[in-house]
Amino acid sequence: MNHSSNFNITGNQKTFRFISYTLVFLMMTCFAMTIGVLIRNAIPGWSSDIIAGIALFIVIDRLYTYKRTKNLIPFKREWAFTFGAQWMVIVVFTKTLLSFANGPDSLMSDISSFTRGNLANLFNLEFGVTLSLALLVWYVSGQFLKLLDEIGLDQEAALSKAATPVQKDILPAHQRLVNLTLQVGIGLVIMTVVTRVNLNAMFNQLDGSFTGLSRFSGAETGALFYFIFGFALFCLSRLISLQTRWNHQHIPIASDNLARQWVVYSVVFLLILIVVVGFLPSGDNFGLFSLIRILLDFLISIIFFVGQLVWFLLSLLLSIPFLLLGKNIPVYPPIPPAPTPPPLDPLADPTLLTNNQILMLIRSILLWGALLVIIGFSLARFIRQHGGFQATFRKLPIASWLFFVWQWLSKNADKTRRTLSSVIGDAWQRIISRTEGIRLFPRPGLLRLSALDPRRQIYFFYLAMIRRGNEQGVERKSSQTPSEYASTLTNAIPSVHEDIHSMTEAFVEARYSPHKINSKEANLVKAAWKRVRRAMQILRKPDKN
């Protein structure tokens, strides 16, 4: 059969990945923004923007690291290390941001609480909610990415999955993606409704009537955009799932522009849908032009939000040195002197009762040490997971300058290290050569042969041979190598020349090679040594006579 067509299934995989990840990011942005609005409405005292920003950070991190972490087997060592490190960074980052959002003094106060071991003070409701939200966003983003991979972003995995027998009760991956999107959408709608309720007013009215219902909270656009992006994701995932199926069934795609046309049709379809929906009667808030205006407002607000977030992160980074040095931060008003901790009541504090300053110091050291180790380890893992960051960083001009400095330092350090190691090596060799001739085992009188490992047993027999040789007048010169000495000894006792040579070879191997020496070899040497010893005894007898 002649097919005048071509297979072009996996060619668009990178583009598909980029678009789908962007759409997931946008959807999750809408989700985070809506949550931000909800928190702002419900609990104005909380840093709602920071919480939303943290959620966005989690999404970005998840999108970035998903490809590397998706193959980790749950609850295995590597999985635990990777996600443990990731979450450690997330927790520290979240706490730092939340603390800093309340002012640098709050951050210092939290650090101070930590150093004093008052960990309970760090875990307030805001932090807990933010972490829960982070976990939710992390999980939902992961689910989106997992489903997209299953649909066909990861063609190999998708095809292997497609090859396995289909279970009737499991929906196709695209359907599950639709379900997940819509389920999150339902949650978003409910949250949007809640944002429209003036909770403060409602809480103030004991009867709980919705007198505080506002007409427009700002979260509606987030929900609206979520569904628009969701529909766009449906279009894309539909194409990917179809392509996976065609690939699995080896159905060639005859059209060269199927993917391109698909994008065009999707965009046109969604635009028409939005325009038609805009014209439909839906009250006084939404019409086509008002809808467009709201959508534009939302986009601008996202840009502002991201800008604010970046500015906040920069200010945090800039203020860290000032905070550590205890100086006022230029971008902030002068820090009022930190409230001195209330004088501790010696009766209330058992630590002071004992007045054990050493214990306090140890606890502080342990906490700081643990914190630094964990953060250092987590950061190292985190940076390793984000290989692209390193590559991007290397491209920066400042990085090349730092790299040059580092190279200079490492070159000098290398030189020093080499000199040091050669000096230490020489000294060690000298020590060894001395001990070889004199005493390899610290306390020969107390030596128990069976307690020695096979390697040392071989040492023992060989050194015994040298010792006995010395006694017999076949002295080993310090310049002689083991083989040279073996030749000398063989000349004196030719009857056991094979044993002497085998003992020498065994010793050389035991002494200079990293090979594992087993007891069998040690026993062989022992047997050889017995024969050599007997020969040496025979050699001695005529002298006596």
Partner: protein, 400 residues
């Protein structure tokens, strides 16, 4: 429809109704609109798709047939994806289906070409073409449509014979014959001097005048070979272990003999008691004796379509047909096994002046006894076990 769509719509409507949530109404419009518009688009567009196959519907064995599939979107709505799957019979070489994916813009068309090899005799369906498509969002089920199947007729294998030993008593034909009994006065092949006893009607007066002595015309003997081939495709009349091969062999024999007879410019008719997929009642159709290439194609087409059938007795059909055949017609019966009733029928035909030939196709346990009985009844029997046995007719015979 996805399982979460309905709960979402319910939530949106509830919110719109009770919470004055205009945004919820907008979202409800969007979700319902996406669902309805997507579904409407696909249904509307699929209805406008027209497909047509172009190919040579008749082919000889081993021939390669190019099939051109024309797909046209007559409507304004484009189709983002269209999966085409044209089913092909297993008997034809190659994969079991032609399948491809394409997209069609508004009022556009596309052509696909694939080829199949006519590797087996038969009346093969090409198609039906299954067309699948679906909405761009993937919220609804895929839609599927089918167009009708076309058919490809693959003629049976024809073995070219040099000659076939078929006796005929029909004089004045076009075939030369050895017996002077069948001398044809239209086929003068020479002259000789008159011998006492020669018929005066044979004297060539013109040449006698010019030669000065009586000359008589010599006529070439000839026969007319009017043949009627009866092909038995009653499955029970073939040895069950080799039934498929034997029936195919019988068809090949019938096709080859018909081809040879038409090649000799003789007339041939045919009766097949097999199943013809084109006949609604599946009753055997007799093709009256005719001559010419067109008639041969008709015979071959019938043979191409014929399939073995159960419970289709042959003897009553021969009885029915024999009375319509002219005197001297050669009746060739091709079957797997011959019972006494068939031999009796052939004997009766012989007695009525028709030549009966029995060809046993394939292997059967009762062949020996059949041949003995046929010899007693003076019915010529050929046993063709394999196609190789047909070589006996591929070499020139001395008899004809």
């Amino acid at each position: 429809m996805s399982g979460a769509v309905l709960p979402l719509i319910v939530v949106l409507l509830l919110v719109a109704a009770f919470m004055r949530g205009d945004f919820a109404l907008t979202l409800a419009y969007m979700v319902i609109g996406g669902l309805v518009a997507g579904s409407w688009w696909v249904r509307r567009a699929l209805a406008q798709v027209e497909t047509k196959r172009h190919f040579n519907t008749h082919a000889f064995l081993g021939e390669k047939i190019k099939i051109n599939l024309h797909v046209k979107n007559k409507g304004w709505l484009p189709l983002p994806w269209l999966e085409l799957r044209d089913s092909l019979p297993v008997a034809l070489a190659g994969p079991r289906s032609f399948q491809t994916v394409t997209n069609l813009g508004s009022r556009s068309d596309t052509n696909f070409e694939y080829s199949v090899e006519a590797s087996k005799r038969g009346y093969h369906p090409i198609g039906p073409l299954a067309i699948s498509t679906g909405d761009i969002l993937g919220l609804g089920e895929s839609l599927r449509a089918e167009n009708q199947a076309d058919h490809l007729v693959v003629y049976p294998k024809i073995i070219p014979f040099a000659t076939v030993e078929i006796p005929s008593y029909s004089p004045h034909g076009t075939l030369r014959h050895a017996l002077p009994l069948f001398e044809d006065p239209t086929r003068v092949f020479g002259k000789r001097e008159y011998i006492s006893g020669d018929s005066f009607r044979r004297i060539d007066w013109k040449s006698s005048a010019s030669a000065g002595q009586l000359q008589v015309r010599l006529f070439e003997p000839s026969i007319a070979l009017e043949t009627f081939v009866v092909l038995n495709l009653n499955a029970e009349d073939y040895y069950y272990r080799t039934r498929i091969d034997s029936t195919e062999l019988a068809i090949v024999i019938a096709a080859s003999i018909s081809n040879w007879i038409i090649g000799k410019k003789q007339i041939v008719g045919m009766l097949v008691n097999g199943r013809d997929p084109l006949e609604t009642n599946s009753q055997p159709q007799a093709i009256p004796p005719r001559k010419g290439k067109l008639h041969l194609m008709r015979l071959l087409e019938t043979l191409a379509r014929s399939e073995a059938i159960d419970n289709s007795a042959l003897v009553p059909l021969i009885q029915q047909q024999r009375h319509q055949l002219a005197w001297g017609t050669t009746l060739i019966v091709i079957t797997g096994q011959a019972g006494d009733d068939l031999l009796d029928e052939l004997y009766q035909a012989r007695r009525k002046g028709q030549n009966a030939i029995l060809i046993l196709a394939g292997r059967s346990a009762s062949d020996e006894s059949v041949m003995r009985r046929a010899k007693i009844l003076d019915i010529q029997v050929f046993q063709i076990t394999t196609e190789r046995d047909l070589k006996i007719w591929m070499q020139a015979s001395k008899h004809l």
